[in-house]
Amino acid sequence: MRILYLAWNYLRVGVLNEFQYRVNFFVQLGQSLVALSTGLIGLWLVFSHTEELNGWSQPELLAVMGVFVMMNGLIQSYIQPNMTRLLGEIQDGTLDFALTKPADAQVLASVREFRLWSLADVIVGMIVLLIGINQYTGTVGPWQALGFLVALLMGGLLIYCFWLIITTTAFWVIRIDQIVNLFEGIYAAGRWPVSIYPNWLRLSLTFLVPVAFAVTVPASALLNRLTPATLLGTAGLTLAFLVVARIYWRIGLRNYSGASA
C-alpha cells in the first residue's frame, strides 16, 4: 500500500512539473503526428503492392501500429525516463540520495520520473487503434477488450523488467549510454507483427527483447488471434521476469560502491 501511495505522490509531482510547460504538449503532439505519418506512409506503400502481409490484413496491421504507438507513449513517459535517470545516477554516484531514503530502492528508482506530455503518443495510438478496429471485420467484444488490457499491462511490465535488467548491468560496466539508441532501434521492429520475421529474429524479439509481448500479443488479443494458453503463458513469463529482475537488482545493488556525491 505504501508503495502505491509513494508512486501516486511522485506521479502527482511529475504532473505538476509538466504543467509548467504546457506548450510542450503541442510540440510533443506535433512530433507524434510526424512519426505517425511516416509509419502510415510505410503501411500504405506495403498495401499498394499487396493485399495482405503474411496473413495480416490492412485493418489488422493498423491496429498493431496503434498498439505500437500507444506502448511507445507509455515507455517514453514512464519507463524510459526513470531508467535513464537511474543510469545517470549510477554513473555519477548520486544514487546515494535515493538509497538513503526509507523506502524500497527498486520501487523508488522506478517511479520518480513522469513525462506527462509523452502521453500524446498514447492518445494518437488509441485513435489509430480505434480506426483499425472499426475497419476490422471480426467481432471485438468485452472479452477481447479485457484480454487486450491484461496483455497490455503485462507487456508494459515485461518492458519495464527488460529495462531494469539492462540498467542494473550498469552497476558493473558503468558506461552503457548507447543503450537507449539500441533499444529504440529494436523496439521499432514491433511496428509489424513479429510473426513476419525469420525464426531467429522472432525468438530474440520474444525472449531477448520482449517486443512481441509489448505489441503483438496485446494486438492479437483484440483481433481474436490469441488463445487463452498464450495469455496464461505471458502471465507466467511476466511473473518470472519480475522475480529475475528483482534478484538481479539486489545483486547489482550490492556491487554499488557509491561515490559520496
Binding site: V27, T38, G42, T50, I176, Q178, L182, A188
Partner: protein, 267 residues
C-alpha cells in the same frame, strides 16, 4: 592550401584515434541502426515472395542487396547533427571555434571524414554477417564500384551541407526540434531510405528527382545494386556535384547572415 590539407589530415587522424577508443559504443550504435533496414528488408522480401517473386523490380535477394548496401550509405550520411548545431550555438561553444583560423564547417568535415574510415572498418564484419543471413544478389561492374566509391563521399558532402543549413536555423530561433523532425521525416520518404524509389508512385519519384535527398541515398545504393547505364551513372555524379555546389553556396550565404545574429559570450 597546404596548411588546409595538413589540418584536414591531422584532424582525420585524431578522429580515427578517438573513434577507435570507443568501438564498443560504436557497435552498440551500429547494431541499433541495423535494426531499421532489417525490418524493411523482412517486410519487403515477404511481399516480394507473396507477389510471385518480385515487386517494383526487386526480388527478395535484390532487396537484401539494397538494404545491406543501405547500411553503409546510411553510415556515410551521418554528419554533425543539427542538434549539435543547436548545442553549439545556444551554449556559445561556437565562440571558441570562431577564433580559430579555420571555418567550423571545414573542421566538421575533416573530423567526420576520419570517423568514416573507422565506421567502414567496423561495418565490414556486420555487413558480412548480414550477407550470410540474407544472401544478397550483387554483381557490380568495375565502373559501378568506382562510381559507388565517389558517390558515397558525394552523399556525405551533400548531407553535410543540408544538415548544416538546417542546424544554422538555430541562429534565429532556439525551438528547432520540431523542424528537425519534420525534415527527417520528409527525407526518410524521399531519399530511398524507407523503400527503393521504384516502389513509390510515379509522381513521388518525379518530385524526388528534383530534390537533393535521393542523391544522398538512393543514387549511391542504386549505383552499386541496380543496373544503371554509364550515362545514368555519370548524370547522377553530375547532379551530386551540382547539389554540393548549391549547398556550399547556400551554407556560405546563411553563415554570413547568421553569424551577425550570434552574440554568445564565453564558451
Amino acid at each position: 592550401m597546404r596548411r588546409m590539407l595538413d589540418y584536414f589530415l591531422t584532424s582525420m587522424k585524431v578522429a580515427v584515434l578517438i573513434e577507435f577508443q570507443y568501438r564498443v559504443a560504436q557497435y552498440f550504435y551500429m547494431i541499433g541502426m541495423m535494426a531499421e533496414p532489417v525490418i524493411y528488408l523482412v517486410v519487403w522480401s515477404t511481399i516480394a515472395n507473396s507477389q510471385g517473386g518480385s515487386v517494383g523490380g526487386y526480388t527478395a535477394t535484390g532487396f537484401a542487396a539494397y538494404y545491406i548496401v543501405w547500411t553503409l550509405v546510411r553510415n556515410m550520411n551521418i554528419v554533425f547533427t543539427p542538434y549539435g548545431w543547436e548545442w553549439r550555438i545556444r551554449q556559445g561553444r561556437l565562440s571558441m571555434e570562431l577564433v580559430r583560423p579555420i571555418h567550423p564547417i571545414f573542421s566538421d568535415i575533416s573530423f567526420f571524414s576520419g570517423m568514416k574510415i573507422v565506421v567502414i572498418i567496423l561495418w565490414l564484419p556486420l555487413a558480412l554477417l548480414l550477407s550470410l543471413v540474407f544472401k544478397p544478389e550483387l554483381h557490380p561492374t568495375l565502373l559501378e564500384v568506382v562510381v559507388f566509391f565517389f558517390a558515397i563521399w558525394g552523399a556525405f558532402l551533400i548531407r553535410t551541407m543540408l544538415v548544416s543549413l538546417l542546424g544554422m536555423i538555430t541562429f534565429w530561433t532556439t525551438r528547432v526540434g520540431a523542424i528537425y523532425e519534420l525534415f527527417f521525416a520528409v527525407e526518410l520518404v524521399l531519399s530511398g531510405r524507407l523503400v527503393p524509389m521504384t516502389l513509390m508512385p510515379a509522381w513521388v519519384q518525379q518530385i524526388a528527382w528534383y530534390l537533393p535527398f535521393q542523391w544522398c541515398f538512393y543514387f549511391p545504393i542504386q549505383a552499386l545494386v541496380g543496373s544503371m547505364t554509364p550515362a545514368e551513372l555519370f548524370t547522377g555524379l553530375g547532379l551530386q556535384l551540382f547539389w554540393i555546389l548549391v549547398g556550399t553556396l547556400f551554407v556560405n550565404v546563411v553563415w554570413k547572415l547568421g553569424i551577425r545574429q550570434f552574440s554568445a559570450v564565453g564558451g
